[in-house]
């Protein structure tokens, strides 16, 4: 079966820096995958490659078998790739409702977009704040609104960059629940470094180190792997 998204020998060089090395990555429909790695491992570059913000030096990115390596900035959204950036990217001067509505309205009529917006705000728990300006919300709420914006377009693939960054423990738990709920229908790639958060959501984890994939396994096996502990957690193997 064709993977939902696949990368083949993906490489990126920034001058002398080899940020992504021969990355082969594959995600099935409705799968949830976490991508982890220490600072500078190439997580952000990998994320930007998938979202079209960075063009690969060599290699291919395939979405349902179609090469999308040279996309226009608005192409991922059209193809059905929903993207949540690390720093919440919202329309601050518009209300929560309008933020979500603009996402739903692109492919839906006005009435359907209204309905989808109501449902989505309910799903992300932001119905009571729908009239507030997005710019006035707390950081955690902004993260949830952005997840709402992404899922309102009903994309088959969702890319989340550090969705739990800067959240309190309670907010992290709620976000984990939300991601698992979203995963019932949508495939997700979650780039994250918070290991507790990853334990809450992940079934399979891909570990990046110095731009290359060094392991792909379950969270438990990843955590107990001496090599990963060494490079990711800074511990020396016993």
């Amino acid at each position: 079966m064709t993977p939902l998204i696949e990368t083949r020998r993906l490489n990126v060089r920034f001058g002398g820096v080899h940020a992504t090395r021969d990355v082969n990555f594959s995600l099935a429909e409705a799968e949830l995958r976490c991508v982890i790695g220490p600072n500078g491992a190439g997580k952000s570059t990998f994320f930007k490659l998938l979202t079209g913000q960075v063009k690969p030096t060599s290699g291919q990115i395939l979405f349902r078998g179609k090469d999308i390596s040279n996309m226009q900035p608005h192409d991922p959204g059209r193809l059905g790739i929903g993207i949540k950036t690390q720093v919440p990217s919202l329309f601050n001067g518009l209300s929560v409702w309008e933020n979500v509505w603009l996402s739903a309205r692109r492919t839906n009529g006005a009435a359907a977009a209204n309905r989808i917006t109501e449902e989505t705000l309910e799903r992300v728990g932001m119905s009571t704040h729908s009239h507030k300006l997005a710019g006035l919300l707390s950081h955690g709420m902004r993260q949830w609104v952005e997840i709402g914006v992404v899922i309102a377009a009903d994309p088959p693939l969702i890319l989340l960059d550090e969705p739990a960054a800067g959240m309190s423990d309670a907010e992290v738990a709620k976000t984990a629940e939300l991601i698992l709920e979203v995963n019932r229908k949508h495939a997700l790639v979650v780039v994250e470094h918070d290991m507790n958060f990853i334990r809450m959501i992940a079934k399979t984890v891909t570990v990046l180190h110095q731009g290359a994939v060094i392991k792909e396994d379950t969270p438990d096996r990843i955590m107990s792997d001496p090599l990963i502990q060494q490079i990711y957690l800074g511990k020396k193997p016993h």
Partner: protein, 373 residues
């Protein structure tokens, strides 16, 4: 009343005042004053064109005068050649729109930044100024229309009733036509702002990266706004050429370009009615200053701009709206038994919703209630 309804009540208020002025002024004004009113309305149309593309689309265009001038010259050349003004009137809108399409395509599809946008639009305006300015020789003719160079084009035939060359519009007719155009443009732009296209345009101004991530091609929406702004400015140019039956290269000049920006800043960026107010106020002031000899008028206008940027940065209309809202909230926040016998508590939301027409809220883009549109 929700904010959606409220914003339309405010728009209805603006339209009612506009309609009343359109119908009433010709009866109370002499011909000279009516001509003054017509030029205010023509310039207000020009102001609204920039109000839309700058205030709602975030495109700071220094070249609105270019489209205005093109509209005026296109009308003049076409009507001198054709006689009947019906088609020249339309061409005077189409030519600036096509020019805006070409210019906008280079700017937006070339992904030029805002600074370059400003530089390019200003440069194009000055190029047009110099080009037209140097067409004084008898060889510079389009058909039977001599461009006239720095002397300008005099005796431009006035608009006639469609298809009836001998039925030229009187000054009163031109006033009606101008006011109807202004009101229709205001109404049309308000409807556009509430539509999907308008919301995407505003959202792209708020956060272009997010609008791209949602799958909207921001370039198309920006180009659309730019072309619409160019077409409206072209219409204003056509009416201007009719108003004085004369056009000259100065309408492409720096002073003209700067003036439009000043109207928008003084009236209120991000509103449609603000630049109309700003335009009329500044024009009236310019006329008044012109009657005295003590101060240079440009010096006074410059001082007004500095004062506004420093003290009223949001402009007249939004500041007035804020003031009214504040006063209304103060009034409402009195203990309920003083103003009403109702046992219902007044929530802040209710205060806001019941605050009636509020010019500041009129133009706040995409208020929550507009979701129902």
């Amino acid at each position: 009343m929700n904010r959606f309804a409220q914003s339309w009540v405010s728009a209805a208020f603006v339209l009612s005042v506009g309609t009343a002025l359109t119908l009433g002024l010709p009866f109370v004004m002499d011909d000279y004053t009516l001509l003054q009113g017509t030029i205010y309305a023509i310039m207000a149309i020009l102001g609204v064109s920039l109000a839309f593309i700058w205030g709602f689309s975030g495109i700071l265009c220094f070249g609105q005068a270019a489209f205005f001038g093109l509209g005026a010259y296109t009308y003049a050349v076409a009507v001198i050649n054709m006689g009947d003004s019906t088609i020249p009137f339309l061409i005077a809108i189409i030519v600036p729109a096509l020019f805006a399409t070409l210019l906008g395509y280079v700017i937006f599809y070339g992904r030029l930044s805002d600074v370059y946008m400003g530089v390019i639009t200003l440069t194009v305006t000055l190029i047009l100024f110099n080009l037209i300015n140097s067409t004084a020789g008898p060889e510079w003719k389009i058909g039977s229309a001599a461009l006239g160079g720095f002397n300008g084009m005099p005796s431009i035939p006035t608009l006639n009733f469609p298809g009836q060359v001998d039925e030229a519009l009187t000054p009163a007719h031109l006033f009606y036509l101008t006011m109807i155009c202004l009101l229709l443009i205001y109404l049309g732009l308000r409807c556009l702002i509430s539509s999907k296209i308008g919301r995407v345009v505003i959202a792209a101004k708020e956060n272009e990266q997010r609008i791209l991530l949602l799958g909207y091609d921001a370039r198309v929406y920006k180009l659309f706004s730019f072309v619409l702004g160019g077409a409206i400015a072209g219409l204003a140019g056509c009416l201007f050429a009719n108003w004085g039956a004369f056009t000259s290269p100065t309408i492409f000049g720096l002073a003209q370009s700067a003036q439009i920006i000043i109207w928008v800043i003084v009236g209120g960026l991000g509103t449609l009615v603000g630049p109309i107010v700003g335009c009329v106020a500044i024009q009236w002031l310019t006329t008044q200053i012109g009657t005295q000899q003590i101060f240079n008028s440009n010096l006074i206008l410059g001082a007004i701009l500095v004062v506004f940027v420093l003290l009223v940065p949001r402009g007249i209309v939004p500041s007035l709206g804020d003031l009214l809202e504040l006063l209304w909230k103060k009034f409402k926040s009195k203990p309920s038994h003083e103003i009403t016998h109702s046992s219902q508590p007044l929530t802040p939301e209710k205060n806001l919703a019941d605050s009636g027409p509020n010019l500041g809220a009129v133009e706040k883009p995409l208020s929550k209630g507009e979701q129902l549109a």
